[in-house]
């Protein structure tokens, strides 16, 4: 019940603050920009340099998904950092909602959006043929990734600027979506430990239960460790 009330408050806060509302639109903007690039740049490259991008479609899609989910995570992370600065987080933590409720509420909201944008991305970019079941599964992974990024920023940074530094570094995580291209053993093994790698793999081969299991495992371990860390941290 408290969850629902707070959730409603969240939406109120977002609707009342035009900037926040716009921020929800930012992923749409990003998707549009990529779509424009797809429509104009790819034919341009093909005619001028003879470069065929089709083999890389899965990577591009994975990149768009990860950038969007990552961005939602970053926004949530900064929202929580701002609330910590404004002592709102402290206030909410001593209400019946509690520390874990606060966290759940914040992350759930962003994760939900992440799922929605994931579907949107698949709809807008019909680059790769992926069955619905795989899309649902990937959207769950993407929402998980949002939570991971949000938590990494919130628990890793103790002020806004550190948060920015973190966000900057975390952007490099997206690169793991491409490591599969190089087929280097050491790089592949390293990539196993990072969520973005798995999202690309599942887009490439959406019918492998083994991949599903491994991807879910990696995501859950990351999220679990971060939540555990959050729980142990003194406020």
């Amino acid at each position: 019940m408290i969850q629902i009330i707070l959730f409603k408050n969240d939406i109120k806060q977002i609707v009342r603050d035009p900037i926040m509302a716009l921020l929800l639109v930012a992923p749409v903007l990003l998707i549009s920009v990529f779509k424009i690039l797809e429509v104009f740049l790819i034919p341009f490259l093909a005619t001028n340099t003879g470069f065929d991008i089709t083999p890389y479609n899965a990577y591009i899609l994975s990149f768009v998904l990860l950038i969007n989910s990552g961005m939602l995570g970053i926004v949530t992370g900064f929202m929580m950092l701002d609330e910590r600065d404004g002592n709102i987080a402290q206030l909410l933590e001593i209400t019946p909602l509690g520390r874990s409720g606060y966290l759940l509420n914040r992350l759930l909201f962003a994760s939900l959006l992440s799922i929605i944008y994931c579907f949107l991305s698949f709809g807008v970019f019909n680059l790769v043929d992926v069955p619905l079941l795989a899309i649902i599964f990937i959207s769950i992974l993407a929402s998980n990734y949002t939570g991971i990024i949000g938590l990494l920023i919130y628990s890793g940074a103790d002020d806004k600027v550190k948060g920015l530094t973190f966000a900057k570094g975390l952007n490099s995580l997206v690169l793991f979506a491409f490591t599969d291209l190089f087929s280097l053993t050491w790089l592949t093994i390293l990539s196993w430990f990072f969520p973005p790698y798995w999202i690309t793999l599942i887009i490439k081969s959406p019918n492998s239960p083994v991949l599903y299991g491994a991807a879910l495992l990696v995501h859950i371990i990351w999220l679990g460790l971060l939540i555990f860390r959050y729980g142990r941290r003194e406020s």
């Binding site: 900037i19 926040m20 716009l22 921020l23 930012a26 903007l29 341009f44 001028n48 926004v75 900064f78 929202m79 950092l81 701002d82 600065d85 002020d159 806004k160 600027v161 550190k162 948060g163 920015l164 530094t165 900057k168 570094g169 490099s172 690169l175 190089f182």
Partner: protein, 230 residues
Amino acid sequence: MRLLSATWADMRFQLKHGFYLVYVIITITYLIVLSFLPENIFSVTLPLVVFSDPSVLGLFFIGGIILLEKGQGVLMVLVVSPLRSQEYILAKVISLTIISVLAALAITFFGQYPTVNWLLIIISTIITSAIFTLLGIIINAGCNTVNQYMLKTIPYMLLFLLPCLSLVGFPYSWLFTIFPSVAALKLMLGAYHGIYWVEATALTAYLLGFCYLLLRLTVKIFEKEIVFQD
């Protein structure tokens, strides 16, 4: 000297917040990625990487830095100290530009780019970094949260970066050089691919003039929105 003290203070602040560390990591990441690229793509990508990351890092960080100083109230203390607004702003620009230049040089040097005009790399990085940091200070006025700031940068980024696509070349595309971002990118590419010295001088002069005007504008907006609350 106040400007020197302020710059030194900002550099220490940035060091403590891990800017240098994160740029070492980012530089290494870029170098690894670049090393995988085939020769013909590498020669285009490296200059673009330098232009799109180290050169614009000021825009990314300055919002958070000023918001933090505002939040901790330090900005108020600086306002009632003899430190001039212009010195405050220049110190931010200089300190962030130093990181830009170091990162740009490191990526170019360790990337082992074959043909390099080092002086032009330094000049174009300084100018680009200064423009984007000043832009960040202008955008920052009136923002209260990092999220607000990041959102407000989107239209500016589009305004500055979309014209850069004109470099692919089409009839009259040279007209887009009027956009400082395009001029800066041309200068940057010239540092790697070669450029007539007349063109380089003209671009540099144009960009320096733009920087100066932008600085004046930034000081004015900063004083109006942040220093004075009237």
